[in-house]
């Protein structure tokens, strides 16, 4: 939780996701990764990697990410939609 997220552009969300993934998979190639590709399968993220990803992403955006939100991080496209929507909710508890 480093800062308040009030709004987040899709570009900022993409950058945040890419930055978090890069910390785990340093050589991840985002150009070769379509927005609808399954991140975990494509990047071979095991459960610990995924947890680290959530932790980094939550830390850099200030957005709380619960276990029930994990499916929303399945692809780059869904993750961007999730972050931008959650950020405009004020970064707190969205729906669900």
């Amino acid at each position: 939780m480093t800062r308040d997220a009030t709004t987040m552009s899709p570009a900022a969300a993409r950058a945040a996701i890419a930055a978090a993934i890069t910390r785990i998979v340093p050589d991840a190639d985002f150009d070769a990764l379509p927005d609808d590709a399954q991140l975990r399968a494509e990047l071979e993220l095991d459960s610990l990697d995924f947890l680290s990803f959530v932790e980094l992403l939550s830390g850099s955006t200030g957005i709380r990410i619960d276990e029930s939100d994990y499916p929303d991080l399945a692809t780059m496209g869904r993750a961007i939609a999730f972050l931008t929507a959650r950020a405009t909710d004020g970064g707190g508890r969205g729906g669900k």
């Binding site: 340093p26 050589d27 070769a32 071979e44 459960s47 610990l48 947890l51 932790e55 619960d66």
Partner: protein
């Protein structure tokens, strides 16, 4: 006087390449201190010393490949033996953080170099200093370097100290390539195609070497160890519900993954069934004492290591989770310790969420058992006479028939299953 030798870091290691010295002549070394980094076919390993003393002489230069057992350094047993004693044997609390003092430039030869001539000993010293400087440049705290980038830098002859990155990102392969391409003429600049990034031309040798050692050891295991295989399906309904309930209230950094429960249940069961927790050596079984749980970790780019989580049965689930994360991180960054690779008493392989339903593993000699967990899947399952949908996993055991029979193995698997029904007690 004691010799520090190339250690055997597991049954699959015949030789190792000394990569870095983390000590220099005159340094005091205590038992457990990390003194060198050794590259095996499988991984970079930080090697601890099992002896105490003051480093008198480094006999092997970085980059040299030597067989297991060869003397790498000579340690004396007192201050008097230290070369010119610029810092007389202080207790070395700084050993964890690699020793450095890059400013010192030891030009003096050790006064009393045992056996070897002074000039030879002197030749060793600058090397150590150079390495120490390199270590500073590459260690956390200053600059992080990905393993791929490190290998690439070595191949392209790029000095990592000259590589710059944006913000505080680790040095990556592309940074090394950029550095190699820009300043000096470099033989055959690497071609552009992006997919090459993950499978560059230099990687096959390492990957091949790892495949070879894995193949050799597994061939030996299949040839010499009479395996028996058992399998049972475990209802994880309680465990997963408990886990999700627990994680709901917690910050990400404290959340658990299912594997933590599986490993803890296995460690406790192994403690309760010592016949499966130990080694088959010289025609007999030697119990392992504590449970040092080997955890099979796949490395990016291929290959597998199975470092030990020490005393796993005595750790809380939270501690075990933290230990597991730490091991995985260090395994992939090339910072495993020698002891972690040599003393597992039983190994667990967990193919995880992306994997298949069951794994029938091959025992890692000289251990006598290997436990496998498949993917957690939802299946129709009968509970109290009713069919419901429950998360289940297939739990398997590969056992060494010389050490145990299926009866013991079955009891062991049942024990793990029972423990997973009571996650709150783990």
């Amino acid at each position: 006087m004691a010799d520090f030798t190339m250690p055997s870091l597991g049954a699959d290691m015949d030789e190792g390449t000394l990569q870095e010295w983390l000590v220099k002549p005159g340094d005091a070394v205590h038992r457990g201190d990390i003194v060198a980094v050794v590259d095996t076919a499988k991984a970079n390993i930080e090697v601890e010393s099992f002896v105490e003393g003051v480093v008198q002489q480094l006999l092997v230069e970085p980059g040299t490949t030597v067989p297991v057992g060869q003397v790498l350094a000579v340690l004396g047993n007192g201050v008097s033996a230290a070369p010119s004693g610029e810092e007389p044997v202080a207790p070395s609390p700084e050993v964890e953080a690699p020793p450095v003092a890059p400013t010192h430039a030891p030009k003096r030869a050790p006064k009393k170099a045992p056996k070897k001539g002074a000039e030879e000993a002197a030749a060793d010293v600058p090397v150590a200093a150079e390495v120490a400087a390199e270590v500073t440049a590459e260690r956390p705290g200053s600059v992080r370097v990905t393993p791929l980038a490190r290998r690439l830098a070595a191949e392209l002859g790029v000095d990592l100290r000259t590589v710059t990155t944006t913000d505080d990102a680790p040095i990556r392969a592309k940074d090394v390539r950029a550095a190699a391409a820009s300043p000096a003429p470099v033989a055959a600049a690497p071609p552009e195609p992006v997919p090459e990034e993950t499978h560059p031309a230099h990687q096959p040798p390492k990957a091949d070497a790892m495949r070879t050692v894995i193949a050799n050891l597994m061939s030996r295991s299949k040839r010499e160890v009479p395996h028996y295989y058992l399998s049972t399906t475990v209802d994880l309904g309680h465990a997963m519900a408990w886990l999700h309930e627990r994680n709901r209230a917690l910050d990400v950094s404290h959340r658990l993954v299912p594997a933590a429960l599986m490993l803890k249940a296995t460690a406790l069961a192994a403690q309760a069934t010592p016949a499966l927790n130990g080694f088959w050596v010289d025609g007999g079984f030697t119990p392992g004492g504590a449970v040092h749980l080997g955890i099979a970790i796949s490395l990016r780019g291929g290959g597998l290591v199975a470092p030990a989580l020490h005393d796993a049965a005595d750790l809380s689930v939270e501690e075990l989770m933290a230990g597991m994360r730490d091991l995985v991180t260090r395994a992939r960054a090339g910072h495993l310790r020698g002891s972690e690779l040599s003393d597992s008493t039983i190994t667990v392989t967990n193919l995880g969420e992306q994997g298949v339903e069951a794994v029938h593993g091959v025992i890692y000699p000289p251990q006598v058992a290997l436990v496998g967990f498949g993917r957690v899947v939802e299946r129709p399952w009968a509970v109290d006479g009713l069919i419901g949908v429950r998360p289940v996993t297939t739990l398997t055991l590969a056992g060494d028939h010389r050490a145990t029979d299926g009866f013991t193995g079955a009891r062991f698997l049942t024990d793990i299953e029972q423990r997973l029904q009571h996650p709150e007690d783990l």
